[in-house]
């Protein structure tokens, strides 16, 4: 397909933009089986090693309605609501299975509500098999044993869906693709704006790592994106997929350190490992997981990365449903301010913030910068 395999840089950039815009719909024509993923924390290479394309399902848009919304409380995250509607409407029926990352809170709720609706045999279209990926985020011998057992259960699940059970060779092969993707993602730093980097990075959630690497390499080779001058900006808080918000931020400078869950914390470090043992160990040690233990590792790693990126301004934004990141904000800001970094909390925003919110956010940043000057 020429659209999917562009032979020039401009085509690659357009393809990445198209994949990002279409979200998981983009991969409908893939020539390999699809396995869905909900939530960060699931090493995609384990699915790739089974011969499937790992496709993230937490960024989709729902157009249909479904009565499952009658059991979804108003404080449930938007992406969970959207996913459940799509799942029960049959939009995801073509997937071999869907894997939920237990340590991503919305994914846990999505799994529970989906499985309960199905257990009650309530009205729904065809749904694929669902699997909960339990992984404990710390390092000890019992945890390593536990995580290894979970990998075995995942492989059983993948096999049961008709895929190949991952082995040493297929894991190594998957890691080669991931390493290529990782290099290409790193090469975006300074070459494209933070806004472009965000879109191109997340386009990869809807395709294989090799294809993503190809597109990134081609896109960067022909890149004419001008990265904005001004402040070096860090972005933290809830998962944010709003292009207008990025555009607003980059009116002040460049997003050089994007640590919100849809930012540069994905793909996780486990993807680069060639052996199962290393995949699990690196994933368990991923300090971007809010459930990492020791618990102080989360903020410490965040501060270290923002400082290392020489951020001058750190912007926090929160989903309406945030109940976790807010605990970090006062101390995070204290620690960053002690390093001379300006901080501004834009507060709560919708999944797709309206223009008025974006304008108000810009005013808050202006005021914060004035207060610092």
């Amino acid at each position: 397909m020429s659209e999917r395999r562009p032979d020039n840089g401009a085509g690659a950039a357009a393809t990445l933009e198209s994949a990002f815009e279409q979200r998981d719909s983009w991969c409908a024509a893939a020539d390999r089986p699809l396995v869905g993923i909900f939530g960060n924390g699931m090493p995609e290479n384990l699915i790739a090693a089974a011969g499937a394309v790992p496709v993230h399902l937490s960024m989709g848009n729902a157009v249909a309605e479904h009565e499952i919304t009658s059991v979804i409380e108003p404080f449930v995250d938007d992406e969970v609501r959207t996913f459940l509607v799509r799942l029960m409407c049959g939009e995801l029926a073509a997937y071999r299975g869907i894997v939920f990352a237990r340590d991503d809170a919305p994914a846990m709720i999505a799994y529970q509500y989906a499985t309960e609706w199905i257990r009650q045999d309530r009205k729904r279209a065809a749904t694929p098999s669902l699997f909960l990926w339990n992984l404990v985020h710390t390092d000890s011998a019992p945890v390593r044993r536990f995580n290894s057992i979970q990998a075995g259960k995942l492989f059983d699940f993948l096999e049961a869906t008709g895929l190949v059970r991952p082995d040493e060779a297929s894991l190594k092969s998957a890691s080669v693709e991931e390493i290529r993707r990782s290099r290409a993602l790193h090469a975006m730093a300074g070459a494209v704006s933070g806004s472009t980097a965000f879109r191109w990075r997340n386009a990869g959630r809807f395709m294989g790592a090799g294809e993503h690497a190809d597109l990134l390499e081609a896109g960067l080779a022909q890149n004419s994106d001008s990265h904005p001058a001004g402040l070096r900006i860090g972005l933290v808080g809830s998962p944010l997929a709003s292009a207008p918000t990025y555009a607003m931020l980059e009116a002040f400078g460049q997003v050089v350190c994007d640590l919100q869950p849809l930012g540069s914390v994905w793909p996780g470090p486990g993807n680069l490992a060639a052996s199962l043992e290393d995949v699990l160990a690196r994933t368990a040690a991923d300090s971007s997981c809010p459930r990492i233990s020791p618990a102080t590792a989360y903020r410490a790693a965040m501060v270290a990365r923002l400082v290392e990126a020489r951020c001058e301004l750190v912007v926090c934004q929160l989903a309406q449903t945030d109940d976790t990141f807010g605990w970090e904000v006062p101390r995070l800001f204290d620690e960053l301010k002690a390093q001379g970094i300006a901080c501004v909390n834009l507060g709560f925003r919708d999944a797709a913030p309206p223009r008025a919110w974006v304008d108000e956010a810009a005013s808050k940043i202006v005021k914060a910068l004035e207060a610092c000057s």
Binding site: S70, V71, I72, E73, P74, F75, V76, R102, A105, M108, I109, Y111, Q112, Y113, T115, E116, R119, Q120, F131, L132, N134, L135, V136, T138, S140, A141, P142, V143, R145, F146, I149, Q150, P290, R291, S293, P294, A295, T296, L318, Q320, T321, D322, D323, T324, G326, W327, E328, V329, P330, R331, F333, N345, G347, F348
Partner: protein, 426 residues
């Protein structure tokens, strides 16, 4: 003539005991004795058995709220940069600690704990306890919380004997290993040896205590009219629960059960003309417990059920089968989840509503304590399908700022009127 409700003697005995225990504990810890500050769903048994006193986060939170201090602290919380949608029940003690003026707190505040312990059942628990650890310097023991991938809806039928298959071997193996690490930490901290042989006996005593509560629950459920208010059920269960397995706790459970039985035998009830039986779903409304009796005179409506009494048996009895530490892991490994996650919560609510012959359920849904609020609408639908009228109460257990008592009464009264009409009792 107005029916006068007479409190149980056991209630005063329980609160007196707790007051004295608190006084003694305060004296111990302010004179430098070690204590642990722990979340409610952690293995208290390990701390008790090694002789390290504990203060439970949610109990301390309820104490602060009952002293009408929560409004002040939650205003402070927001001024300190924590947004208003963060959990309150589990964070109130932390906020009081951050505020720093110990003289404002009950007991003059808590000294620095020797150890903190939380379970990662909800993401924010580890954030809250991590902040505690940062400001106090106390070590934090985190118990991991992988989920049960295929929860069986009738968990309470399986949990006592067949817990290995219910909670899964891999999860229990991990939790036992984490308990062993915690025991080693407690041994280092206290300089005492954990008596494994004695622990089996201690676990048997806890099972005995919870079986007595099961008998009390059955008595109340089967009585022609509800013999005691839930505002008395709660302290008579939860105070001994904080001391579970001790001689006093077992004796108090017995005293409570026997006093309830005596009341039933002599025909004593909360209201003489009981017409509506209600359940209060969720944690207690700690700042306004008199709300539980608000409909007794007007509608003959009595709250017969709160989770604390029946959960004593279903949530706690785990037969050791030669492995008391593993049985403890079975008790702890889904303790909170059983009260908040589908299918566990919806199935159990229906079972309990049937057992207690419930007409109306008031369901507390704390929107800013999402772990406690998830699954509420599944439970609501299940109860409605079982013929129970459900009224949602969108409020918080410890924050009175959004509690509108008059508004809530105005919502509930028409519902109770409708029930009376349906039952042809008007």
């Amino acid at each position: 003539m107005t029916h006068e409700y007479t409190p149980l003697q056991a209630t005063a005995a329980a609160t007196d005991y707790q007051r004295e225990w608190a006084r003694s504990l305060r004296a111990q810890i302010t004179s430098g004795e070690q204590y642990a500050f722990v979340n409610a769903d952690t293995p208290h048994e390990l701390f008790h058995h090694i002789g390290l006193p504990i203060v439970t986060n949610q109990w301390w939170s309820a104490i602060i709220a009952a002293k009408q201090l929560s409004e002040y602290y939650f205003d402070y919380m927001e001024a300190a940069g924590f947004h208003e949608r963060l959990a309150r029940y589990s964070s109130l003690p932390l906020i009081a600690e951050l505020e720093g003026d110990k003289s404002r707190q009950p007991w003059g505040g808590l000294p620095t704990p020797s150890i903190l312990c939380a379970r990662q059942s909800a993401d924010d628990h580890q954030k809250i306890f991590s902040l505690w650890a940062e400001i106090t310097g106390a070590p934090l023991a985190l118990i991991s919380s992988p989920a049960v991938p295929s929860p069986q809806s009738d968990w309470w039928r399986l949990a006592r004997e067949d817990w290995e298959s219910l909670y899964h071997t891999d999860r229990l193996d991990l939790m036992v290993a984490e308990f062993e690490a915690l025991i080693a930490q407690l041994e280092d901290l206290t300089g005492r040896r954990f008596d494994h042989e004695g622990f089996a006996h201690y676990m048997d005593r806890i099972n005995l205590q919870e079986r007595i509560y099961e008998e009390a629950s059955e008595l109340i459920a089967r009585a022609p009219r509800c013999p005691i208010r839930i505002s008395e059920q709660i302290p008579n269960v939860m105070i001994p629960q904080w001391h579970r397995g001790s001689d006093w706790a077992v004796a108090h459970a017995t005293r409570f059960r026997d006093e309830v039985a005596a009341r039933i035998n002599s025909g004593v009830s909360v209201v003489e003309n009981e017409r509506i039986r209600m359940m209060w779903i969720g944690a207690g409304l700690w700042f306004d417990t008199s709300f539980y009796s608000a409909f007794e005179q007007s509608h003959g409506a009595v709250f017969a059920w709160s989770m604390y009494l029946p959960f004593a048996s279903d949530g706690y009895i785990r037969e050791s089968r030669g492995g008391p530490l593993r049985a403890l892991a079975a008790r702890v490994s889904a303790m909170n989840e059983q009260l908040h996650q589908p299918p566990w919560i919806n199935s159990w609510m229906v079972e309990q509503a049937r057992r207690y012959r419930i007409d109306v359920a008031l369901m507390l849904i704390p929107e800013h304590d999402r772990f406690s609020g998830h699954g509420s609408l599944f439970a609501k639908q299940a109860l409605e399908e079982a013929g129970v009228r459900v009224i949602e109460v969108w409020s918080d257990m410890v924050d009175p700022r959004q509690w509108n008592r008059d508004g809530m009464l105005a919502r509930i009264v028409p519902e109770l009127d409708a029930v009376l009409t349906e039952k042809r009792l008007t």
